[in-house]
């Protein structure tokens, strides 16, 4: 019976605190990872909508082509000048 009490004391004084400490050491990085994921979600994932202006590059390309064609016509007209 004395040995059982000694075992109980060791269990309550050593094993349970050790388990709690180990679990806390696992839990705190998990909480940090969760906070980082929230931060990334809040700040990082919102840059996708800001890239919608890239679709206007096609319009820019078309406008540059038109300007180029007009410029070519203008230079040809200059060549025809007496």
């Amino acid at each position: 019976m004395t040995l059982l009490w000694i075992g109980n004391l060791v269990f309550l004084a050593v094993v349970i605190p050790a388990v709690v400490i180990i679990l806390r050491r696992v839990l705190s990085p998990a909480i940090e990872i969760g906070n980082y994921a929230d931060d990334i979600m809040e700040h990082g994932a919102q840059f996708a909508p800001h890239l919608s202006a890239l679709s206007e590059l096609a319009t820019t390309r078309e406008l540059v082509r038109q300007v180029n064609a007009d410029l070519e016509r203008y230079v040809r007209a200059l060549d025809r000048m007496p």
């Binding site: 969760g34 994921a37 590059l57 070519e72 203008y74 200059l78 007496p82």
Partner: protein, 189 residues
């Protein structure tokens, strides 16, 4: 039952409850992290898809601009050869001419005047140029309308994306938003 057994049972129960509580908390955190990562990866996928055709488009624009520059240079050189007077196209020459015009300085050989003066309009093509100006104005107005419409669509997309992000922040809506683009495709991979 012996009190020692009761204490042992209580200790075991406390240990099991503590382990279960911590494991459940970790599982919930990891579940939330997975949901966030799915949304973020979907957004990254959408960004990749959006930015994929930029390289060829910028190459085309660069080539067109380079062709236009060469066209103007050749045209000006031909004009200079025809007129017989050298034309200084350099920035220094134009700047000197501007300063000379502003402060009344001398410009003995006329360098830079042709480059800073308004481009000559050949006679006989004024009508053609006027028609071209009208057509260019129409094209510019149409392009402006397109750009305005694109801006409206982009603004709508911003609002929709913000709504999705807000919905994702809502704990009740703990599933990833498919509106951030490419999520379904990413999940299929």
């Amino acid at each position: 039952m012996d009190p020692a057994h009761v204490v042992l049972l209580l200790g075991t129960a406390i240990t099991v409850v503590a382990i279960a509580g911590y494991l459940i908390a970790i599982a919930l955190i990891l579940k939330r992290v997975i949901a966030r990562l799915v949304v973020i990866l979907g957004a990254v996928d959408a960004v990749i898809e959006t930015a994929e055709p930029i390289g060829p488009i910028i190459d085309d624009i660069s080539k067109d601009l380079d062709n236009g520059r060469k066209l103007v240079e050749n045209g000006v050189e031909r004009l200079a050869d025809r007129k017989g007077a050298p034309i200084d196209l350099s920035v220094t020459g134009r700047r000197q001419q501007e300063l000379a015009d502003r402060f009344g300085g001398a410009d003995p050989d006329g360098r830079g005047r042709a480059a800073t003066a308004a481009p000559p309009v050949p006679p006989g093509i004024e009508m053609e140029l006027a028609a071209d100006r009208h057509a260019a104005a129409d094209r510019t107005a149409a392009a402006d309308r397109d750009v305005a419409a694109d801006r409206h669509v982009a603004a709508d997309r911003h609002v929709a994306a913000d709504r999705h992000v807000a919905a994702d922040r809502d704990p009740a809506a703990d599933r990833p938003s498919p509106g951030l683009g490419g999520l379904g495709r990413w999940r299929k991979r």
